[in-house]
Amino acid sequence: MDIARKHFITNSIRIKNGKIFLNKETILSLDPKIDFSQFLKDAYKQLALKYPKYHKMDSLCKLGVLGSTILLRDQDFTENTALVFSNASSSHDIDIKHKQSMESIVSPAVFVYTLPNIVLGEISIKHKLQSENVFFIEDQFNADLLVDYSETLLKSGKASSVVCGWIELKNDQYDVLLCLVSNNGEIPFTREKLEELYRFDNE
């Protein structure tokens, strides 16, 4: 019995090198040389996010809200859609800013972002999810962990569907893959398929 085959990758989003792909199709392609903060601004505008809170967030949260909003557009999900996220550098992008501010004045508006799971909170607020959350740290993309843990949530009924993936940010280099996993779709939710989606970042 292979229960894993019951779930599918319904939708996937990839953000890397100035490009955003939805189900492997390019939906945004900006000059990879533009700086990261400009990329986040331009992507917000061009993809019509219309969520002013976005501008107050740290970069990791912006990536997460950007990715999840496009991923979940016109999709069926419920408040029990779980979030299973991972990366290598935790919240070090904003941690470094907080550390630098310790020399002078520390800002609570910066400190509040110095945990990797804050992005799960921002996504939950944006999409009204009151679901299971977890943030795993891994030295590199680990499809096994994402598939295995998402499956435990789905099989035990702790989640109706799952958004899982990788959201890495280090030295302004970003690398995001988010997948909506549910009963609908054609791509089986397996390690191989997840790996394939992660490796895909150029046509």
């Binding site: 408040e79 979030l83 290598a88 550098s89 935790s90 070090h92 941690d95 470094i96 907080h98 550390k99 630098q100 310790m102 520390v106 800002s107 609570p108 400190f111 509040v112 972002y113 110095t114 945990l115 990797p116 799971n117 804050i118 992005v119 799960l120 909170g121 921002e122 939950s124 607020i125 009204k128 999810l129 009151q130 679901s131 299971e132 959350n133 977890v134 943030f135 795993f136 740290i137 891994e138 030295d139 962990l145 295995d148 843990y149 499956e151 435990t152 949530l153 099989k155 035990s156 702790k158």
Partner: protein, 382 residues
């Protein structure tokens, strides 16, 4: 569904270097919170639960060279060693699950005698893995102040689907300048040792500690506490402020109860998060009332330890387990008159009482909430 048992455990904290030393200190009413000078802080310092580094290094010298490891690593290695000492575990099959919010964060731009990448949680996990020779890559959980409890829930969930049979869960966090300066900027550090749920509470005290526990589906002598329900739920309300309706905490309690097939009226003891901030404790009282837990004896251990962040929910889980095993209710230290808008039944003095079930809750930044239900097996050992 198979029973998931909470087995050998260890707490390394200012209250002691084993779980039994910690419980002895709690029974004596001793707190790890002391005033520590810190020029960054308005009052010239704050109350915090800080481990004496030379005492720690001395204890650590039994198992390794303290100079080669950071303070946090020494704490987490000692906690793990203690659990491994008591069991014949096959480390090629045992999972290792690590929980921390900030790890060695103070090494991020000032790595002292260590390499710079030692600030990474991946590095911390590798240090623990390699010290003991765990074969499998550790799973690392960093989910704010519910991390330590969530790591136990993750162990249970993976055991139930057959990914492994035994998992060592290790949690640890320090009182770092990084975190202290941040909570100071929020003006949420208490001027006195923190007073959970009290009228005149004015914020948190920070603490540092490490803990470890063996989570397993195999019965072993001397352990008969099962984790029978667990759930997390996000408030979807605010990233740093708790929900006024206690929505996520209420939902996580309901879902954990549902899994455990217990009703609120069957819960004998509630180990709360109780950080002693105005808004957190109020939110918990609201959620506990909505969940009909008004009469359940409840405490917070933050008055003993301070808030140990990613370690707190594991330490408190271990203490909840021992409350059940010992049939003992420990008082909520520093309680000075109920200061929340809804009634709750704070434990004010040590009490011996037959206990069968307990609820452990935790909440954290990012709007996360966790509920776990522990149950004594009636046919087990004790």
């Amino acid at each position: 569904m198979m029973d998931i048992l909470l087995q050998e455990d260890s707490i390394i904290s200012p209250l002691g270097f084993s779980t039994s030393e910690n419980i002895k200190a709690i029974k004596a009413g001793n707190s790890g919170l002391q005033f520590h000078e810190n020029s960054r802080i308005q009052n010239g310092g704050c109350y915090a639960g800080i481990l004496d580094a030379s005492l720690l290094a001395d204890k650590f010298s039994d198992i390794g060279d303290a100079k080669k490891f950071t303070k946090l690593e020494q704490m987490m290695l000692l906690a793990t060693q203690s659990v491994l000492n008591s069991n014949q575990l096959n480390l090629s099959e045992t999972a290792l699950i690590i929980s921390s919010t900030k790890g060695n964060i103070d090494l991020l731009d000032n790595s002292q005698n260590f390499s710079k990448n030692r600030a990474s949680l991946n590095y911390l996990a590798r240090v623990i893995q390699e010290f003991f020779g765990f074969k499998h890559k550790p799973i690392i959980v960093s989910n704010a102040c519910i991390s330590g409890g969530l790591a136990v829930a993750i162990a249970k969930r993976f055991i139930q689907v057959g990914k492994f049979n035994d998992a060592i869960v290790v949690a640890g966090d320090l009182v770092s300048d990084f975190v202290t300066s941040g909570f100071q900027s929020f003006q949420s550090l208490s001027a006195t040792p923190c007073k959970p749920f009290s009228k005149n509470r004015d914020g948190i005290s920070l603490g540092e500690a490490a803990a470890a526990i063996l989570v397993s589906n195999k019965e072993r002598k001397g352990n008969n506490i099962s984790l029978v329900g667990d759930a997390t739920s996000n408030d979807a309300n605010h990233i740093s402020g708790p929900s006024r309706t206690g929505e996520g905490l209420y939902k996580s309690i309901q879902r954990a109860l549902q899994e455990s097939k217990l009703s609120a009226s069957e819960i004998d003891y509630l180990c709360a998060h109780g950080t002693a901030t105005i808004f957190n404790d109020e939110m918990e009282a609201v959620a506990f009332n909505r969940a009909e837990l008004v009469h359940v004896p409840i405490n917070s251990f933050k008055g003993f330890y301070g808030h140990t962040l990613g370690a707190s929910a594991l330490i408190e889980n271990i203490l909840t387990k021992h409350s059940l095993l010992n049939n003992e209710l420990y008082p909520s230290l520093n309680f000075e008159g109920l200061g929340v808008s809804k009634p709750i039944n704070i434990i004010q003095k040590f009490e011996k009482k037959e206990l069968k079930t307990a609820l452990k809750t935790a909440s954290g930044f990012g709007g996360c909430n966790l509920a776990m239900i522990l149950k004594k097996s009636f046919n087990g050992y004790s």
